[in-house]
Symmetry: C4
């Protein structure tokens, strides 16, 4: 009963009371089972970072400006040599069939319809090839290091072959955060939701630990990637590589020095280490450290076009949308995801119009202030 994946029938048109992205979150719990919702919505441990991700956006104020001519306005940008209509990407969310039987195929179709870049997850519930076949628009592949270099390499080669134009390497969960909410809801991945890319993956080495050894340090972390592994990765592909999960300026600096294409300031939506800074809080320190030209994307907490505006003001080139993708998928499939993206685009444009910014380049910290507490 608890595992029944949907309750209400997926919507086939968008009712007028879905007026903002967070309305999808409120609705989503009626469209998927409780454990699935808890897995998606939950953060780690005390959910301090999860809450701060949105609070920190709200704590940034904006100044409206009157009578500015924005009739030539546009949200265009160039990233890694490609032109984008707007700075909104779908984040590489795993296991999308938890939200909807069409899973990643629906999200990728919605992304194409809204001209949003799509980032396919290593842990997608359909194969990266199937996803690639669905969409002719820009698509990147998100990579988790695998137990063996051979298998990691096979994923890279498949992504190259399938036409992905960049790799996004996620580094902030070598071990999962404490997903207590999911645990309390007794969440397990249902059998029908596959980790489609990982089929045929070799079984992990069974490690024998003696009683003074730790399953964390000498167990799981034994297999975690290091900076050396990242260097190895650089040799394996000509695709631009973007490093995801950076919050500390020193890590950002090292990523830049090593010659990577860009990075994603992210705390994994508050699902990795609890207590780390909100992404938007970490962002300006990182932008300051890597300089004005290095491409920075941001995720975690973006729920409004105004949040995208704030992220750009604080130094991001573009943003990734994670959970709202799953909520919209749960409620109304591809249609929901497309609508959710349209809401964000329009809100971003309204925010630019009312602040008098015609282009993303004009958005900067002078448009903002810190709300009094």
């Amino acid at each position: 009963m608890k595992e029944k994946p949907t309750r209400r029938e997926k919507l086939t048109q968008i009712p007028p009371d879905i007026a903002a992205v967070n309305d999808y979150e409120k609705l989503a719990k009626h469209f998927i089972s409780h454990p699935h919702f808890e897995y998606i919505a939950g953060g780690s441990a005390n959910e301090i970072t999860l809450k701060n991700n949105q609070k920190a956006f709200d704590d940034i104020g904006l100044y409206n400006r009157v009578l500015q001519d924005v009739s030539q306005g546009s949200t265009e940008l160039t990233l890694f040599g490609e032109q984008y209509r707007h700075p909104i990407f779908l984040a590489p969310v795993a296991h999308q069939q938890l939200a909807h039987p069409d899973g990643e195929l629906a999200s990728a179709a919605a992304a194409e319809a809204m001209e949003a870049g799509f980032i396919a997850s290593t842990l997608s519930s359909t194969t990266l090839e199937q996803i690639a076949n669905t969409t002719r628009y820009r698509k990147w592949f998100q990579l988790y290091f695998q137990d063996t270099k051979a298998f990691t390499l096979s994923l890279i080669k498949r992504a190259e072959k399938a036409g992905y134009s960049a790799l996004v390497v996620t580094l902030d969960v070598p071990i999962n955060g404490l997903r207590n909410r999911a645990q309390r809801a007794n969440f397990t991945l249902p059998q029908e939701v596959r980790e489609a890319n990982l089929e045929g993956k070799p079984s992990p080495t069974q490690r024998q630990l003696n009683r003074t050894q730790s399953i964390i340090f000498q167990g799981i972390m034994k297999d975690a990637p290091t900076w050396q592994d990242l260097e190895w990765l650089q040799q394996q592909t000509n695709l631009p590589i973007i490093i995801k999960g950076i919050l500390h300026p020193a890590d950002a600096a090292r990523v830049k020095e090593m010659g990577f294409a860009g990075l994603v300031v992210s705390n994994h939506g508050g699902r990795a280490l609890d207590g780390v800074p909100a992404s938007i809080t970490a962002l300006p320190f990182i932008r300051h450290r890597v300089g004005a030209e290095f491409p920075i994307l941001l995720d975690s907490g973006v729920r409004r076009g105004a949040d995208i505006f704030k992220a750009i003001a604080y130094g991001a080139n573009a943003v990734l949308i994670g959970r709202p993708q799953m909520y919209a998928l749960a409620v109304a499939g591809a249609l929901g995801v497309a609508h959710m993206l349209r809401l964000l685009r329009e809100e971003l444009e309204v925010t630019m119009a009312l602040t008098g910014c015609s282009t993303l380049q004009e958005i900067n910290t002078e448009c903002t202030f810190t709300q009094p507490q």
Copy 2:
């Protein structure tokens, strides 16, 4: 059912438990339909600015002073060459028949009874001429730029002819804020509530957008006024022009330099861009920028006579009352609006008496302090 405009019968006398302005808000929801209430009460997006408008007033503390002789006290002021008994105006709230069948006529009558200035909205539900006929007291006309200069000019000429003594030009909503609360309540303007001044207005040009163009930038904002349009406006009338919707000191400075009569620090009651400063937070920066003599009015968040006192301490000459007008109208028509104004006047006088200020000129920031958080 949902659209039935009233539920309880309008009150014909004021019960003792309406002791303060906000009591009208609590009551109003029982006198008008839910969508109408949501339209009136709602702010934009996350309603951060809406909440801050009142919180920012509460965060300003006051010092009482003992044994001051205020027996010669008065709340009089001179504004644009005219004498006022007190610094309270009714703000140009649109569509007042949403609250009461008598709409603006009731509000204007109440304003006259309480010697409060009345500002008629471009979007009034009775014509500006009807309103002008109702009241012999001070009245101003609030102007939204129209699609064509000809129609804008016709409104100005009608206002002049009808005896309005100033124009208030609202600039902060060239495009509406994200009125999510109204959207979620499925609010639409009911047919019986007309935009009476706009009848006969030419249909807007149908603009053909290609697929790379934005309905925000190349659509709606194409028609938005610019500083050049404001210069044009200046040539069309000898009435004093007051610019409404200013929050940024640079915009205030430009308004002053262009020779306008005054400005209104306002965030449109939190209904325009969400996240902008509370009006009272923005006010001192603007007063500092334009100097001591330039007339500044303020709206957004005034719910207490003490709030008026704080606005004056921070640099305002007078204040405008928006939503409470609609709530009082909804509950008890003209009687309610008059009573609401009387509450504010008396509270202002009590505040002056207890702080030892005999005149508005004596009110300054030394009467205030910032509450510890």
Copy 3:
């Protein structure tokens, strides 16, 4: 029904679940009618000051110290030449028969039992002479200026004759604060609760106001006392005069310069002007201004022995207890008030013991810190 003054029977012994002063507040609402409770418990307007009175105490932290020898400890003090066992007085709360038929006679008896000074209110529901006859312990008389000097003087002379040893002149409510909570509960003083001291008082002059005059400024405040009246008062008696209701350092300085005996830092329990500082917030600025030797008492917000400790650390010589007197009276009459006083005394002693302070003189700001927010 609503006016039925009591509901539960007054308690004749104290149950173990009354463990702290605020427990009396929670209980009191079951022992008196709703309007009476609202009148007693309510503050003015938005109740910002009411809330801050307790929050500001809670925001002051304390340091415990270990192994201090306090076996010679005592809470004794000397005030206006008299010795007190502890620094706790009962504040001059008006209309005490609202809480209990025995009213001030019960409170005064409890004060004597607990060796607490008692301050009888001008607005007591039994005469100052009856109160004086009840208690052989220290008693002061609280004076409100009356419409005529003659009647004011008659009150002073009666107080002298009845054996009161000091006058406390309250100055912070020349006009009442906005007692909205009491208004909303439709509170009126019931006929059986008399203003016993004011019987025979001459009817106030009927003042004719023209329509440009204000009932606040030219009406009520016309009769309010001024600094000149305070000078007059000084000539009428040899009793020490203590000025109550001071929050601004400049007012405190003037009181001291005029030669008064002391002052009470008070915001009338948040019932006068809303938004003024919490008493404990105002206290250190006043102590700094008047120097170390001038007697300062404090009321408003004291609910714990630790609050008394903090008041003394911040510069008070003693404190007055207002509302808890009424709550305890409502619940259990004289027994309740005595128990409430005992709780405060013991809590003060425990706080001194755990902070290692043997005497009130040892209590200072080094025992405190500001809690992080």
Copy 4:
């Protein structure tokens, strides 16, 4: 009925929804009577310190670091010349049979199973000898000064004989804090829960107080230990002595100067003086005062492995776990306590892994930041 010690049957295996230490608190109330729960969970007075103990941990942010090699990681430490697998001790919680019939014997067994140090309380419900017989792992004895030196000495000698390897002398409750929550729940120690170590203790001297004397100062505090008594204690044993209940840096400095082995920064879980700093707030000031080498332990508020990490970053060598021990005991006896300890250990290791710290020595304030409010 109210005194019935358990409601649900103790669990014999740990269900998956106990995912974090605080889950034991939520469950515990169903396993013990309300008064017992209130006694255990309650803090003193307004519970400001109780709340701050956890809030202050939450207000410390952490930085994750990517790609660090922690495969050699370990949580080992050396303390007082002994090697420990991890820095987690069970605090000396009194009266453990309130939570479970097996009381301290269960906790001590769980501690041994998880290689956690156990600190037996003077107020244990089984004798220190019984406890000592249960466990072969590290155990310390917590000492309260008794009315007579002879009896105090007899406890020390019994502890030495029973094989305890250190004394922990608690100093912050010479008089109990105001345990209002326990009082309101009418808590009393049930007859079947003995103070087993104190049987045969001489009856306390009956002290006759005259009416000007205080039962606090001249009564209870007459028997409280002083610095001289602490010197005496130093002469009686060769065991390392650790002083518990220190918050003020000056007290910490004196403890160090006197030559004690170490100290415990503690506010007795918010049960002693209310308003004192959270332990973690006090810690860095104390570490700064005593220098880098002096052993410091910390308790009060530790509920997460991340809290342990933060305590170590701020200067602690190890932490003590108080209430969670009782909650876990209440829910599932020894099994619960062991599981609770395992959760903390694993969370600490995960936190170290994600912050890139291989050893406790690498944990410092650079791993942390102060969360914006």
